[in-house]
């Protein structure tokens, strides 16, 4: 493959064009006659000039520098990089979904409303909740919405001194960031040596409990372990007057085996782009619907979709609603993909997906634990966390292992997270990978372990075969170059 190294600005040539519009068919006019001169731009836009072939070649060449799920194995822990079914893409592009304005008349959007209504019901059934808002744009946005709901609940009860949200030390950084964005103070609860929340410490953190607004928890947690004391934890929080928030990042582990609603959670978000197979798109767009139990329904963002006989409609009549968190009704195009997936998999397929995700994680672990340090030796759910190489080979770091995996054609696992495990390698294979793929990956990991013993330099200098090698992040951050200046 040739080494393409141009920015679109560098292939621009004055006079080239990649578009043609129909000629103006209404009477022409001078803009100055209708718009005061002080508002009108006199300068040309500083945009490139290229033709259509240039654009296609440029971005096709860029795509060659990317590794996608369709390229190969992507075992990023807590990211659930499962296969993105192609029919999902086709359904989102159906003209009756893609070419619909959000503010069209109600009788012109019955299909969209029915889809949202049915998806709400399906997600509630999977989560064990009573009602969903489909507005949030992403997991982090779902978290924020969830904490807004919790705040509204306490405020309505006049219970305004609750200013703390409890977050485990193994939590994703988004949890404490969300708590603070929602005007709360995040307080940490410790994990035990077994990797789950220390219930004794939780009791201490709760104290007399009158300042606790709630607890945010991922279950299974970021180590891939089921929080088996969840019922006791839920009781402790509820007794203190707080509410429980379920971070659905790891929901792919438990479909058909457990539901957050049954565990005592009051608010739940799902990462649609994880559990429900919609593409990550190089960073987005995803979707983060939030489900609640009955006592929080009145606070949901508006509108909600309701049904009256055969007619679906947007219901804005929620006087205690937190308001609006997102333009229009959320990431509809992503929700179409998710609903397509739910219909395709059905009740049996969703359960099977979680079972195979858990089987794959435990199988891969069984193939790796001879060579890699396993801080907690137990049965995992959909992912597990290793602590670097076994033995005292400290000169080879987790970063080196990750970079070397690139040479073998694999996307590395999540590294250095969760923070409570040193040199963490967090591996989530998902259900859509075959045994053969897992075996190939295990083989590469074993070879890396062997290289660490025999020739660690290979690892320190990895990757060897990628188009760029360890770009200098310190340089990028010290003297930020954030745009092309020619």
């Amino acid at each position: 493959m040739r080494d393409y190294d141009k920015l679109i600005f560098e292939i621009s040539k004055p006079g080239r064009k990649a578009y043609r519009l129909p000629p103006l068919d209404v009477e022409d006019m001078d803009l100055e006659e209708h718009i005061p001169e002080k508002f009108l731009s006199k300068e040309e836009l500083n945009f490139p000039e290229v033709n259509e072939v240039d654009v296609i070649r440029h971005y096709t060449n860029l795509s060659d520098k990317n590794y996608g799920l369709d390229t190969g194995f992507y075992p990023l822990g807590s990211c659930t990089m499962k296969y993105n079914p192609k029919i999902n893409e086709d359904m989102a592009r159906l003209s009756g979904f893609a070419n619909v304005h959000p503010l069209q008349r109600e009788d012109c959007i019955q299909g969209s409303l029915q889809l949202l209504y049915e998806l709400d019901k399906a997600l509630c059934e999977i989560a064990g909740m009573d009602r969903m808002t489909l507005q949030p744009a992403a997991g982090a946005h779902g978290e924020l919405t969830g904490l807004m709901l919790i705040k509204a609940y306490h405020e309505k009860r006049g219970d305004t001194k609750r200013d703390k949200i409890i977050v485990p030390d193994s939590a994703h950084g988004t949890n404490p960031a969300t708590a603070s964005m929602a005007g709360y103070k995040a307080v940490e609860v410790k994990s035990t040596d077994d990797g789950i929340v220390d219930v004794e410490d939780l009791k201490k953190v709760i104290g007399d409990g009158d300042d606790i607004a709630g607890l945010m928890l991922t279950n299974p947690n970021t180590l891939g372990l089921f929080e088996k004391h969840i019922v006791e934890m839920a009781e402790l929080i509820h007794d203190a007057g707080g509410l429980l928030y379920y971070d659905g990042a790891n929901a792919n582990a438990i479909m058909g085996h457990a539901r957050p609603g049954d565990m005592g959670f009051d608010v739940v978000h799902f990462n649609i782009h994880k559990t429900f197979s919609t593409p990550h798109g190089g960073g987005g767009p995803g979707a983060g619907p939030v489900g609640v139990k009955e006592h929080l329904v009145e606070f949901l963002p508006t509108p909600l979709v309701e049904k009256d006989g055969e007619r679906y409609f947007l219901d804005y009549d929620y006087p205690n609603s937190i308001g609006k968190v997102k333009d229009f009704y959320g990431h509809f195009g992503i929700l179409v993909r998710a609903y397509t997936y739910i219909l395709t998999m059905g009740r049996d397929g969703l359960k099977k997906a979680s079972e195979m995700a858990v089987l794959n994680a435990n199988y891969l672990l069984s193939q790796l634990k001879d060579d890699y340090y396993l801080p907690i030796d137990t049965i995992y759910k959909h992912e597990f966390v290793l602590g670097g190489l076994k033995g005292e080979q400290l000169e080879v770091r987790t970063l080196d292992i990750a970079k070397r995996l690139l040479d073998f054609g694999f996307h590395p696992p999540t590294v250095y997270f969760p923070l409570i495990i040193r040199e963490a390698l967090m591996i989530e294979p998902t259900e859509t990978e075959s045994k053969e793929t897992l075996d190939e990956f295990a083989k590469a990991m074993k070879q890396i372990a062997e290289e660490a013993r025999r020739d660690p330099e290979i690892l320190k200098e990895a990757p060897h075969d990628t188009i760029v090698r360890r770009p200098d992040e310190v340089r990028a951050a010290r003297n930020p170059v954030l745009k092309y200046e020619g």
């Binding site: 600005f9 519009l21 209404v26 209708h34 508002f39 009108l40 040309e44 945009f47 259509e52 860029l62 060659d64 520098k65 990317n66 993105n84 893409e89 159906l94 009756g96 979904f97 893609a98 304005h101 503010l103 069209q104 012109c108 019955q110 299909g111 059934e125 744009a137 982090a140 924020l144 904490l147 950084g173 964005m181 103070k185 089921f226 969840i230 438990i254 593409p279 190089g282 987005g284 767009p285 968190v325 333009d327 509809f332 195009g333 179409v336 395709t344 998999m345 049996d348 079972e355 195979m356 435990n362 672990l365 069984s366 049965i379 690139l406 996307h411 045994k435 770009p471 200098d472 745009k483």
Partner: protein
């Protein structure tokens, strides 16, 4: 067997043996009995692709597609032309099936287009720095407002009533949880009342937020608003813009705006019943460390080769945790690519032509629609591609008559502005033809 799961019963058996358990259920034994889910989901069983396709197609046909109707509806989402190549490029699975670019060695494609996007947004808005995008135009306003309170350490936000009502509702939701005060400025003949603004701006002001072209399509005086805003110590002017309008209008960065945000749906992203869209935010160099969301920077690799990485990430939640500037840990990835491809495909001339044609067609439509006197302009102000008309007719009646003629009519302003009962906001993009506008006019005349 399921199409996306490859294990044969034999595979499953071998894998269970390797793990040292005898059944799948044994892998779930850590779930306490009292919370274990013991029934089946009340959902249908798995379906074939043909069955799913047929059901979804049926649903989609219960909507009216703009392929079959003519759209004069805007109010924040627009029916602009999308070049064919946009969908072809974003359909490359190397782009759409990749994760956030944490591993730069195998993500240079994503990182480079984000870098190009940041450059294009800076050039378009006249600002120094752009992030790699936000969820949408509405939340971008809220994020910008939170950013202004963090920069100025003040808690009062002033927003004009000519800003899109839904965006104001989002801002209020966000402001409420942080205990921030939101003050709304009235309007005068469809634009922000600058005299009132002048009286409201004080040393407690963290930011003033306006939209131009505003919700009514009218061009606001950004320069004068900036002058008033900057009378207050440290206060920032946040301007929300329609990026298409910058094909002909002066850049907010050249007019004194401190933060520029907006909705980029009109640049290559389908209407898709309201999302996913694309929010953008651009700021001054001095505030780059307070800018929320992802940012890509240029650097060199071990061999001295130009390359791109996510940078300034210490601001973000995975490091600063509870002290992060925002909890956003993604961007709109693929939609950012769509907008990038749109901007380079249209290029410097194309964006101007789209903006000019939209403006000219909108002005033609205004003239045509008001000719008989049955419909009157609600305001008398310079506008871009949207304008409001008032009449004696009930907007619902107008809408349904237009619907009968396969036209999607304008937005009923009375929903958000009770004082503008019977006023309808029409949007005209470059996609509308003279024949379509003339038809709109004749149907309206016939009501």
């Amino acid at each position: 067997m399921y199409p996306y799961i490859s294990h044969t019963p034999d595979d499953e058996q071998k894998m269970l043996e390797a793990i040292g358990v005898s059944s799948i259920d044994e892998l779930f034994e850590d779930i306490p009995d009292e919370v274990a889910f013991k029934r089946e989901f009340k959902l249908d069983k798995a379906k074939s692709e043909l069955e799913v396709r047929s059901y979804m197609t049926e649903l989609s046909k219960k909507n009216c597609s703009l392929d079959d109707l003519t759209c004069f509806l805007g109010a924040g989402a627009y029916d602009h032309y999308i070049p064919s190549i946009v969908d072809h490029i974003i359909s490359r699975s190397e782009f759409y099936t990749s994760y956030t670019p944490y591993q730069p060695e195998i993500s240079q494609g994503t990182l480079q287009y984000l870098f190009e996007y940041q450059t294009l947004i800076c050039n378009l808005t006249g600002m120094d720095v752009s992030n790699a995008s936000l969820y949408d135009g509405g939340t971008a306003i809220a994020e910008a407002a939170l950013m202004s309170t963090s920069v100025t350490r003040k808690e009062e936000i002033i927003i004009s009533k000519t800003v899109r009502p839904e965006a104001r509702r989002i801002l209020k939701t966000y402001a409420h949880i942080q205990g921030l005060k939101v003050i709304e400025v009235d309007m005068k003949d469809g634009v922000t009342d600058l005299e009132q603004l002048d009286s409201l701006v004080s040393d407690n002001t963290s930011s003033v937020i306006i939209q131009s072209p505003n919700f009514f399509g009218i061009i606001e005086d950004i320069e004068e608003t900036a002058r008033i805003t900057h009378k207050a110590k440290r206060a920032l002017l946040i301007t929300s813009v329609d990026p298409i309008s910058l094909g002909i209008l002066r850049r907010p960065g050249d007019l004194g705006a401190d933060i520029v945000v907006g909705e980029a749906q009109g640049m290559g992203i389908p209407l898709s019943f309201g999302g996913p869209y694309l929010g953008f935010i651009a700021a001054r160099q001095s505030h780059v460390r307070k800018l929320p969301g992802r940012i890509v920077g240029e650097t060199i690799d071990l061999d001295g080769k130009r390359s791109y990485v996510l940078t300034l990430s210490a601001r973000e939640q995975h490091i600063r945790r509870e002290k992060a500037t925002s909890n956003i840990c993604s961007n709109q990835g693929l939609n950012t690519l769509a907008a990038t491809v749109y901007m380079v495909t249209m290029g410097k001339e194309g964006l101007r032509e789209v903006a000019e044609q939209s403006t000219k067609k909108a002005h033609y439509a205004l003239k045509k629609l008001t000719q008989s006197g049955k419909y009157k302009p609600l305001f008398n102000q310079p506008f871009f591609k949207e304008f409001a008309l008032t009449s004696d007719l009930d907007p619902e009646l107008i809408s349904s008559k237009l619907r009968d003629a396969d036209i999607i009519g304008g937005y009923d302003l009375g929903q958000d502005y009770p004082q503008y009962k019977n006023a309808v906001l029409y949007a005209v993009t470059e996609k509308r033809t003279k024949a379509e506008i003339d038809k709109l006019s004749s149907v309206l005349e016939g009501i």
